[in-house]
């Protein structure tokens, strides 16, 4: 029974594989093995063209090794620079600790100025005539500017347009606010200095 089954299987395999394909393969194999000869004009030049790029590629590889060395050296230097900058930053923070804080001093100075002005006002009171217009007064007679000149509009001057104040910005960045505050402080200090 087993022998019969094997024979049937072999017959089925024979039926499945077509005969035409076998023939084609047999024909194709001798043609692919045939060598093809190509004639070249300048074989020496061609060989030269082939050898020179290979030499250049080898030089490439050599220079690439150098390049890698340079790169690692550069990385080392960059790390060194980072460390140096960190140390510099630390030193600057130390220096800040040693030096006095500008903010407090500036505030004190401004307070002192204000106190001096108050003392001066107390010592030298204003003249009794206060109804005179501001334009007639001389600059020397004015010890302090108590009110801004914008608040007293002159009659001669043409009416100026009121500058509409910009809408309040939505402040979502606290860092920005801090920076603005610091900038304001610095400007204030500069104003006191000049």
């Amino acid at each position: 029974m087993a022998k019969k089954k094997l024979i049937k299987k072999k017959a089925a395999q024979k039926k499945v594989a077509p005969k035409t394909t076998r023939r084609k393969t047999k024909k194709a194999s001798p043609t692919s093995q045939e060598p093809i000869y190509v004639g070249l004009h300048n074989s020496v030049e061609l060989r030269k063209h082939l050898l020179e790029p290979t030499r250049e590629v080898i030089q490439f590889l050599q220079s690439y090794e150098q390049f890698l060395g340079n790169k690692s050296e550069k990385a080392k230097f960059i790390d060194q620079l980072k460390e140096d900058l960190k140390l510099i930053k630390l030193d600057i923070s130390k220096l800040r600790k040693f030096l006095p804080k500008n903010k407090i001093k500036a505030e004190k100075a401004s307070q002192r100025i204000k106190e001096d002005i108050k003392d001066d006002v107390k010592k030298h009171p204003k003249p009794a005539v206060t109804s005179a217009p501001l334009s007639r007064r001389t600059a020397s007679s004015l010890p302090i500017k108590t009110s801004s000149p914008k608040k007293t509009p002159s009659l001669d001057a043409p009416p100026t347009k009121k500058v509409t104040s910009a809408p309040p910005r939505t402040r979502s960045h606290p860092e920005l606010d801090e920076l603005e505050k610091e900038l304001g402080d610095i400007e204030e200090k500069l104003g006191t200095i000049s």
Binding site: G39, L40, D84, L87, I88
Partner: protein
């Protein structure tokens, strides 16, 4: 107010001076390393440029070879 001298109280004055000296030396070191990095970068750039030219040359040679092989002599 402008002409008045300003006195700043500095405690540990010598320490501050030493710190300033060390800061100066560190800044000099940083400058030197930066210079070295810059030099290496320039070398790298020069190397890259030479590779670029060499590659272009190789490409042209290969193109000529390609021409040779694709257009063989006909008998």
């Amino acid at each position: 107010m402008n002409s008045m001298p300003v006195f700043v109280k500095i405690e540990e004055y010598e320490d501050v001076i030493e710190l300033l000296v060390s800061l100066r030396t560190k800044i000099e070191n940083a400058k030197m390393t930066l210079g070295k990095i810059n030099q290496l970068k320039q070398e790298e750039d020069a190397q890259l440029q030479s590779w670029k030219t060499a590659l272009a040359e190789i490409e042209s040679r290969l193109a000529s070879m390609d021409q040779f092989l694709h257009e063989p002599e006909q008998f």
